[in-house]
């Protein structure tokens, strides 16, 4: 009998793990990589969240309560991402989740969000299917592969008269998706290209670079996310490909991480990258406020634009809860669909037409930036440019 009592006690203790205390805060769930090859994104997210929370709580919070964030690590891998979202939905019981910067992780998360009927706003995972699946609970306030390629990368290549393109893509959903879209657009423009695939966590690109050198392209579209991009840029310079052949980092943030210059050295000069943020480009008053708040808190300028992306989605989530006057899922989705909110990158309005990736999608304007003398110069699109594209003859 004694044994049985012990067993019962143990099981009771385990059951008490699901402790739920009456909280007087509104909890917003966040998913993103805090470990793994893109851990820097997690850091950028943390900073953006901190500024957003300061901003919201200084104004009295949401529904009269202070706002809090539960940030679950995804490690940048789909299975951890799915379980992170599951934990936010079932253990923390948050009313809404925001974040993510990996498409493969996001594609796993949207299934869980759909299963638990929990609103999810993706900010930096670009795969078309995330919104193309037309899930009622899934929104994206951030770039989408098709948009980035159609409006920025492909026209940039065409307008600057590049003659031959090398596409290097990692084996992730983002890499596969954006490369396919690029191929379609380049075909339509009649610009010749080659595509090479690389492993997501690869550090050695000499084989691929030798092949590329043989093809003699004048621009490489590097769809590699994480520190791998640093190795790629450094090795391309080493084998004598760049700077004659320019490199465009199709994601952007890795070219802005603190470690970039340390890892690439002078190979970083003239490198191009996608971004949605630049010191001199402020589309809204909120953008200016974000910049000032960031400087005040961290004593430096923000670099990784994902800091601002997560800031935006936290604001969007808080705004939706406020207007829904509820933390229930249905009212929040209804409120999100009516979003008309100024964030750092414009006025957010989600698309409502079903059937395409534009459903529940809002994309901020993007920029193509070039490192010129370790300074960021916006070179595309023309109306936002702060300087001309530099090429080496």
């Amino acid at each position: 009998m004694k044994r049985l009592m012990v067993l019962v006690t143990v099981m009771t203790v385990l059951a008490m793990g699901s402790w739920a205390w009456a909280a007087d805060t509104i909890k917003i769930g966040v998913v993103g990589p805090r470990t793994g090859p893109a851990a820097a994104t997690g850091k950028a997210f943390e900073e953006g969240i901190a500024i957003a929370l300061d901003h919201l709580n200084a104004k009295g919070g949401v529904l009269g309560k202070q706002v809090e964030v539960v940030f679950e690590d995804t490690g940048g891998v789909p299975e951890k991402a799915a379980s992170a979202l599951e934990k936010l939905a079932t253990r923390d019981k948050v009313p809404i989740v925001v974040g993510e910067s990996h498409s493969s992780s996001a594609l796993a998360e949207i299934e869980v969000a759909n299963r638990y009927k929990i609103p999810l706003i993706i900010c930096e995972a670009w795969h078309d299917d995330i919104t193309k699946k037309n899930y009622k609970w899934v929104f994206r306030a951030g770039p989408v592969n098709s948009g980035v390629v159609d409006f920025y990368i492909a026209p940039f290549v065409k307008d600057n008269r590049f003659k031959k393109v090398a596409i290097v893509r990692e084996n992730s959903d983002w890499g596969v998706g954006i490369a396919e879209k690029t191929e379609t657009d380049l075909k339509n423009f009649g610009i010749p290209f080659i595509t090479l695939k690389v492993e997501r966590e690869s550090k050695d690109f000499y084989t691929e670079l030798t092949k590329i050198k043989g093809e003699n392209p004048d621009i490489i579209l590097a769809y590699i996310y994480g520190t791998g991009l640093h190795f790629f840029v450094a090795q391309a310079h080493e084998v004598g490909l760049s700077p004659k052949c320019l490199i465009l980092d199709g994601a952007g943030p890795p070219s802005l991480w603190d470690t970039f210059w340390k890892n690439v050295g002078k190979a970083g000069e003239l490198e191009l990258f996608m971004s949605s943020m630049h010191e001199k480009v402020h589309l809204t008053p909120t953008s200016r406020k974000f910049w000032d708040d960031y400087k005040k808190k961290y004593g430096k300028d923000p670099t990784d634009y994902k800091t601002r992306s997560i800031y935006n989605v936290v604001l969007i989530a808080a705004d939706a809860i406020n207007r829904a006057k509820s933390t229930d899922n249905e009212p929040i989705v209804a409120a999100l669909e009516k979003t008309n909110l100024e964030v750092t990158t414009g006025i957010v309005k989600f698309g409502l037409k079903q059937g395409t990736y534009e459903y529940h999608q809002w994309m901020p304007p993007m920029l193509v930036v070039q490192w010129q003398g370790q300074k960021q110069v916006v070179v595309y699109p023309k109306e936002a440019a702060t300087g001309a594209l530099k090429k080496v003859k």
């Binding site: 044994r3 049985l4 067993l7 099981m11 385990l14 059951a15 793990g17 699901s18 470990t35 690590d73 891998v77 789909p78 299975e79 951890k80 799915a82 379980s83 599951e86 934990k87 079932t90 253990r91 493969s104 594609l107 796993a108 299934e111 299963r115 084996n171 992730s172 959903d173 596969v176 695939k197 492993e199 997501r200």
Partner: protein, 314 residues
Amino acid sequence: MGNKQQAGTAKKVGIPALFIILAILPPFFLSQYWLHVMIISLFYVMMASSWNLIAGFTGQVSFAHAAFSGIGAYASGMVAVNLGVPPWLGILIGTGVAALLGLGLGYLCIRMGGIYLSLTTLGFSEILRIIITNEDKWTRGTMGLQVPGFFSEYSKANYYYLFLVVTIFLLIVIYWIVHSEMGLTFRAVLNDELAASSSGINTIRVRILAFTISSAMAGLAGGLYGHYLMLITPDIPSLGQMFLVLAMAVIGGMGSFIGPIVGSFVLETLSEYIRIYGEYHVLLFGLVALAMARFAPEGLMGIVGKKWRKEWVH
């Protein structure tokens, strides 16, 4: 190591029956989150107990157990995605494929035995991981293969009962094997291979048989796991997963029937509490497992058994 005792058949049937009744209850009072932890624990019970069948009972330390669960999961997942085979049938196919490959690998390397078996299975496991990770059409590499679940309406309670039934089934099979003639030969091979073979036991055949059965069980567990998560990734056949299973069996008590079961529940629940330390929890479990192997080789059940000395610590 007690043999069949006459300690009262009432107790022998009574205690498992009590456990089964207790096991039916969780969906009625556990939150979704803790039910999830229970389901994952049951997966680990299947993994650790079936690994224990070869490692604990025939002394063959295989590092390919997680790999076989991955084979079961991917085989089932790929036929579901590409051919539309329902998961119910898929997991049987997965189990079959794992059994076949288990038989093949067992046939090739079990004669070597000892450390060589461990090294070969370690290599096998790594090769499999590399293939799965780099292949991005069929297995979808690190992106993960999204697969359908077992039930059209998602319900944690349903999954819990499904896992429970299969786990109990596997445990009964393991219990039966261990207490049958076959189990006796298993242990004979473990205790003294030379003596066993000289008394007429075909030790190689016994070991291959144990290896195949155990691989098939891992394949079944992996298939269930994959269709429960609805996402199959190279994490399932990873060495990290392998070491977790190993730690569960060692900490719970290798070579005992109850040990791996207890180890799985304890470690899985514990890892939910120490999850904030990220990957370090595997390291911690590794250290505890090492300390256990040195100071308490019979694991938690050995420690408890010393205290209680009762028949259900076998």
